[in-house]
């Protein structure tokens, strides 16, 4: 099957939003913490600086995880 999905345009957002976080990690914002952690690990392994990845993308991934984790701890009771 040919690849029909269109690539997202442009670069990273200047200020990371919740939407971007979910996109980077490939999860939904409301997913459980375990799932987010697992997704972070998977994406991180793929882009780790030691294994051919680079620091810029890695820092974006970590920023994304931190943001979701912070949100998960405080705020909603669900």
């Amino acid at each position: 099957m040919p690849h029909v999905r269109k690539f997202y345009p442009g670069g990273f957002e200047t200020e990371m939003s919740r939407r971007e976080v979910a996109l980077i990690l490939g999860v939904r914002e409301r997913d459980a913490l375990d799932k987010i952690k697992e997704a972070h690990k998977r994406v991180m392994v793929a882009n780790h600086p030691d294994g051919g990845g680079n620091h810029y993308i890695a820092s974006k991934i970590n920023e994304a995880k931190d943001m979701l984790m912070r949100k998960g701890k405080s705020g909603s009771i669900f």
Partner: protein, 116 residues
């Protein structure tokens, strides 16, 4: 006489309404700023029109100004492949856009005849 009076009234009325509307508009804008709606909207517009800068493209692929096109392609292939198998589509997109951006830069340089 009566015509003049009516005309005066109309002019006065419309200026008052105009001023009130201007104030309401300002107030609405202020409220939007407070709630972050305007901020989000501006961000959305920027996001839609934004194309990647060369600097960001180089950061994403992890190459320097001195890197050759072959090096870039090598990096790109690796990152693209990795994100296709176990990364996310969003990051894959960024890698692809970064290559696209640098491709343009390098093509232009080639036409200009400057060695890169």
């Amino acid at each position: 006489m009566a015509g003049k009076l009516i005309a005066n009234l109309i002019v006065m009325g419309s200026t008052i309404i105009g001023r009130a509307m201007l104030q309401a508009y300002r107030k609405a804008l202020e409220n939007a700023n407070k709630t972050g709606v305007a901020h989000e909207a501006i961000n959305n517009i920027r996001r839609a029109s934004k194309t990647m800068t060369e600097q960001e493209a180089r950061q994403i692929l992890g190459v320097t100004e001195q890197s050759t096109w072959e090096e870039i392609i090598q990096r790109y292939d690796k990152l693209f492949e990795r994100n296709a198998t176990s990364g996310s589509f969003y990051l894959q997109s960024k890698v692809h856009r970064a290559k696209e951006c640098l491709e343009k830069v390098y093509q232009k340089n080639k036409q200009d005849g400057t060695p890169t």
